[in-house]
């Protein structure tokens, strides 16, 4: 019996990992589309989100059936729960990629600020590395790596604050960048939220290993810190 169950779990992990890679691609493409004002690429991100949603649906369905039919306990149960919770986080990350893509499509000849776009690219690059690293930590069951990924999110939060501050400075100096900068602020917030979901996945990796539900990297900033 174990063998059949192990096989089902293996398939679940393969699908989860595949979904993770697809989400990471969506994030990367959405930011590329945004900084390059590439509306076609943005449309592709929106279309491909259907696939991500379907994968989440299928994964959840498989997890529900595994729980109902195999009644797993202890580590076996945690494996299924981890996939179920983490795939919901992945799906939300995909939704944020769609939001970034929609911001790209909305842009209509706004004045651009290349310095800020460069900062957004750098921020996205970091989040991309985080996504890659968290999926890796999940695959090799590495709690320390998962914690390191959550720690890296602090830098992403800082980058979001820097971008907002930079936008405000530009707006003060040049009223023509108001519309564009609002989008820059929005997009940096989306990327920052993606980082938060990556942290959630790190938390599920810890749960998988320890059975404890922990909160990593809680950071409540007050407006004056902005």
């Amino acid at each position: 019996m174990r063998q059949a169950y192990e096989e089902e779990l293996k398939q679940l992990n393969i699908s989860f990992f595949r979904m993770g890679r697809l989400v990471n691609e969506a994030i990367y493409k959405s930011v590329q589309a945004f900084v390059n004002h590439d509306k076609e690429l943005a449309k592709i991100v929106i279309e491909e989100d259907e696939k991500i949603n379907q994968m989440e649906h299928d994964l959840e369905q498989s997890c529900i059936e595994l729980i109902a039919l195999q009644q797993p306990v202890t580590t076996d149960l945690r494996k299924v729960i981890t996939v179920m919770k983490a795939c919901a986080d992945l799906e939300r990350m995909g939704d944020h990629a769609v939001s970034i893509a929609k911001s790209t499509i909305r842009v209509k000849g706004n004045k651009r600020v290349y310095e800020i776009e460069e900062l957004i690219s750098q921020m996205a690059e970091r989040v991309k590395e985080m996504v890659h690293s968290v999926l890796d930590a999940y695959t090799v069951d590495d709690v320390e790596q998962a914690k390191a990924v959550a720690e890296a999110d602090k830098k992403v939060d800082q980058m979001r604050r820097d971008i907002h501050a930079e936008c405000i400075e530009w707006i003060k100096q040049d009223s023509e960048v108001v519309v564009g900068s609002t989008d820059y602020m929005l997009v940096s917030t989306y990327i920052e939220r993606i980082g938060d979901y990556v942290t959630n996945i790190s938390e599920w990796i810890l749960y998988l290993k320890t059975g404890e539900i922990v909160e990593l990297n809680t950071h409540h900033h007050y407006p004056e810190e902005n």
């Binding site: 019996m1 174990r2 063998q3 059949a4 059936e65 109902a68 039919l69 195999q70 009644q71």
Partner: protein, 272 residues
């Protein structure tokens, strides 16, 4: 949690037909079984899929074992039992009076609740029935013994003591020997009546694993010893209640979103 006594509506039924991608291997049409005046099975029509495991579940007294036994004419052995309706196998009604029940049982084998190896050697347990069917060639017998034991996932454990008594084996091994004995005759269909109910959890897991491997080559109908076993290993599930089938569908459906309330109540442990 206390079991909540509830009134369950057992008049509704939902019997799904097999999808087009599955072939049926054996079916019954309006099957009734009577023990004297008592009607134990009240007209059951079901078709079992080829190379799949079908579980028959239901409260005690729902007649699932009676139904299983009727599939290879075992009820013929019970005095006063009468079986009406059709049992269709390879386009033929094997419930007809002119059918040779021994050849039926060669095609449709049965494994019982308690392991019942003969008090002979492991080898002889398997070779016995083959010899009775006229096979004398030692090479053929050796090969059949090896193949059956391999299919029953027992070969590696017993290959060096084939001529020792089967009685010295563990319960799980004995039951897998009985499975090997049944498949030595190369049946199409394997019927199992609570094959793991007398076994410990590890032996149960071994038998379940064996069944999952066997479905590659055989079609299996099983009365599991509990619902969890049905959910773990079967592809299709039939829910029996007082001699009727109330629901028949894919196991994943029966255990996650059954079509009728009675099934929902039974599989959730609220009823039966």
């Amino acid at each position: 949690m206390a079991v909540r006594p509830i009134e369950t509506d057992v008049t509704k039924t939902s019997i799904k037909k097999l999808p087009e991608n599955l072939t049926g291997v054996i079916s019954t049409e309006d099957l009734h079984v009577y023990y004297g005046d008592f009607e134990a099975i009240k007209g059951v029509s079901l078709e079992f899929p080829k190379n799949q495991i079908t579980a028959l579940i239901g409260p005690s007294g729902s007649a699932k074992s009676t139904y299983l036994r009727s599939l290879n004419r075992m009820n013929d052995e019970i005095k006063g039992a009468k079986v009406t309706g059709k049992i269709l196998y390879k386009g033929r009604d094997i419930n007809a009076s002119d059918v040779d029940v021994y050849s039926v049982r060669k095609q449709i084998g049965m494994v019982f609740q308690r392991p019942n190896p003969f008090s002979k050697s492991i080898y002889e347990n398997i070779a016995f029935a083959l010899k009775r069917h006229g096979i004398k060639d030692k090479n053929v017998l050796d090969e059949a013994v090896e193949t059956s034991l391999k299919q029953a996932a027992l070969w590696d454990q017993v290959k060096d003591r084939l001529h020792e008594s089967a009685i010295g084996m563990s319960g799980g091994q004995q039951q897998r020997l009985c499975i090997a004995r049944a498949i030595a005759l190369k049946p199409d269909v394997l019927l199992l009546d609570e094959p793991a109910s007398a076994l410990d959890p590890i032996s149960t897991a071994q038998v379940e694993e064996t069944l999952l491997e066997l479905k590659e080559n055989y079609s299996i109908v099983i009365v599991p010893h509990n619902m969890q076993q049905a959910s773990r290993i079967s592809d299709y599930t039939a829910f029996f209640h007082l001699g009727n089938v109330l629901e028949y569908d894919e196991t994943r459906t029966v255990f996650t979103r059954p079509a009728i309330q009675a099934t929902e109540d039974y599989v959730s442990g609220h009823y039966g």
